[in-house]
């Protein structure tokens, strides 16, 4: 309750919505009511924790080995005089994972600018190419090395999944990067990339939220950011309080989710025994 401004705005929104509700809520899709409140609550928790972090609340994050290893990997490439390869997944910017991948690329580009290591980013979608360029250019500018940046460090290969994999394999075999980073959305090509990277002896760090591909990265890469860890990566790498606050908010939400799960089981148990007539699961409609 430390943030008065937050609570007053939340209160006003609540009151306004209640007035709208009592007034007959025209144009509102009532069946999706549960989702509506979920979005408001989840969004509210995230915004609240972000604001708290900005105001200086101290947050300790556990260490994620894969993220510590990113800087090491760039450092090792510098020592060996070899490039860093960064693959932002094979999907377009309409996937949140890809956007997250481009954001992490920005942080990696800062490191390569600092260490003066060359960076190679083959992409499989033209919009991703545009976004990744903007992000890299900005990073090099911020590190004061715009001279090291050139547009073609981010280059397009092809939109096709396997042709892209073939092309990236070719780049790996011929340029022999010392570090390969895979951050984004992946499908079947994940293992093609990771096995080739393994065969050339590169340090490999992967991060993805594609559940079916995580096992392959776990078995073939040195480090893997599993699911949610990948989305926390940009907060870890930037150390900006706003982003770290968001991670803290996600933790609150996890506790909330577990709570609902246990409560739901208990209510469900009572309902099945016929002690209560209130069916919790029917209430939790998912549309």
């Amino acid at each position: 309750m430390k943030d008065k401004q937050f609570w007053s705005v939340a209160g006003i929104i609540f009151v306004l919505f209640m007035i709208y509700w009592v007034a007959g809520h025209p144009f509102f899709v009532t069946e999706r009511g549960v989702m509506f409140w979920s979005i408001l609550i989840v969004g509210g928790v995230l915004i609240y924790s972000t604001r708290m972090a900005k105001r200086g609340e101290e947050i300790i994050l556990r260490s994620i080995p894969g993220l510590k290893a990113v800087e090491e990997a760039v450092g090792r490439s510098t020592e060996m005089g070899k490039p860093v390869l960064y693959v932002p997944g094979i999907m377009d910017m309409d996937q949140v994972e890809t956007v997250a991948g481009v954001v992490v690329l920005g942080h990696v580009a800062k490191m390569t600018a600092r260490y003066e290591t060359s960076l190679n980013v083959p992409v499989s979608r033209a919009i991703v190419m545009k976004a990744a360029r903007e992000s890299c250019r900005e990073s090099y500018l911020m590190e004061g090395r715009p001279d090291l940046f050139h547009d073609d460090m981010v280059h397009y290969l092809t939109d096709d999944q396997f042709a892209y994999a073939a092309g990236v394999n070719g780049i790996m075999l011929r340029e022999e990067p010392a570090a390969c980073l895979y951050m984004g959305k992946f499908y079947a090509e994940s293992l093609l990339l990771a096995e080739t990277g393994n065969s050339i002896g590169a340090i490999q760090i992967a991060g993805t939220a594609s559940p079916s591909q995580i096992p392959f990265f776990v078995t073939a890469c040195d480090y893997t950011l599993i699911g949610e860890e990948f989305f926390a990566a940009s907060a870890y790498l930037s150390q900006e309080p706003e982003l770290i606050g968001g991670v803290k908010g996600q933790d609150y939400l996890k506790i909330l989710a577990i709570g609902v799960m246990i409560l739901g089981t208990i209510f469900n148990f009572f309902h099945d025994l016929g002690w209560t007539s209130w069916d919790f699961l029917a209430y939790l409609t998912v549309q």
Binding site: D94, V96, A131, E134, H155, L157, F162, T219, F230
Partner: protein, 342 residues
């Protein structure tokens, strides 16, 4: 400055709010935007962007060729490949059909037709006769050039039939059998993607060989559940007796006893005792392949897949869901904007 910095953020925020809260609004325009138009617009945008990508690819390869960098002949091949598929997609149709709608003397037209479709004249004639009144017969394989098709049309017309040439429509040529684009799909594109896909069979084997080592308890779980699924799903898994698995379990447990107590007597006792116990039980039950069910691979893999696996997958899914929601909110609110170089 406004156009470069603030406007993009404003667009992301507006569209983000609209697509997030549009789900709750019962108004036809907003509904159709959220359900349909929003992604359609993106598809169109991405299609335009593809031209940009192709230009970049050509530029990179052309630089290699012009500067005669290492491997430039291959770069030239990439340009050639692109030119080929561009030609098949936009310039050279390669699919012209011949339709026969009428004939006076089937035998005469059949002579022409027979040579075109590699049949004897009698069968060609039968095809024509079997053609219902008012219908047209289309020669199965389209002609690659317009003049080729025109030539056949002329011959048929000379033989007293009525035929005409119909070019496959642009746009439907991408899915019509016989067009140059379709030829490229079947004989270049499909084999290449299918083979890249099939390479995975080899990589999956080498990755499992290297990675499935009993380094610690976690790796052991990975290995055990992997092997059980691998064997339990194929016919051969049904032929592996539950008792065989039981013996393996006894040995594995004894290995555990060995590392835990570090005492040879205990280890020996557990091996002998376990084997004896299993053998006696086996004789009593008559060694059925699928009993006890816990150690029968097809049953066991089913249990693993439906229970512990579901739990693990669910934890990952919820985590991902929360991660994506939180990240999306950051983009909508403009807290994170480095994807456009801020």
């Amino acid at each position: 400055m406004f156009m470069k910095r603030q406007l993009p953020i404003a667009i992301a925020a507006t569209i983000g709010f609209l697509t997030l809260f549009g789900w709750f609004v019962d108004e036809p325009h907003i509904k159709s935007f959220v359900d349909d138009d929003a992604t359609q617009w993106f598809d169109i945008l991405a299609s335009f962007a593809m031209f940009l990508g192709a230009l970049n690819l050509l530029k990179m390869q052309a630089i290699k060729v012009i500067r005669k960098q290492k491997g430039w002949p291959y770069a030239a091949l990439a340009i050639l490949g692109f030119t080929f598929s561009f030609t098949a997609g936009f310039i050279l149709l390669g699919s012209y059909n011949v339709e026969i709608s009428q004939y006076d003397d089937p035998a005469k037209v059949a002579t022409v037709l027979a040579s075109e479709i590699n049949l004897d004249e009698k069968s060609a004639e039968n095809i024509l006769i079997a053609m219902p009144e008012g219908d047209t017969y289309i020669i199965d394989t389209p002609y690659f050039t317009k003049s080729g098709a025109d030539n056949v049309v002329e011959q048929i017309n000379a033989a007293g039939g009525t035929a005409n040439m119909r070019a496959t429509e642009w746009g439907s040529h991408i899915s019509t059998r016989g067009s140059l684009f379709n030829w490229m799909f079947r004989f270049i594109f499909t084999p290449l993607s299918a083979t890249m896909f099939a390479l995975l069979a080899f990589f999956v084997a080498s990755a499992s060989y290297r990675a499935f080592k009993i380094r610690n308890f976690e790796a052991t779980l990975l290995l055990i559940s992997g092997i059980i699924i691998m064997l339990g799903r194929v016919p051969i898994g049904g032929h592996i007796s539950a008792w065989f698995i039981l013996y393996i379990v006894v040995l594995a447990l004894s290995a555990g006893v060995n590392t835990w107590f570090k005492n040879r007597t205990y280890t020996l006792a557990s091996v002998v005792g376990g084997v004896l116990l299993v053998t006696i039980a086996g004789f009593i039950m008559g060694w059925p392949v699928d009993q006890p069910a816990i150690f029968y691979l097809p049953v066991l893999q089913d249990w693993i897949y439906n229970n512990p696996n579901v739990a693990g997958a669910r934890a990952i899914m919820i985590g991902i869901g929360l991660g994506i929601f939180a990240t999306s909110i950051r983009y909508i609110l403009g807290i994170e904007k480095s994807y456009i170089g801020e």
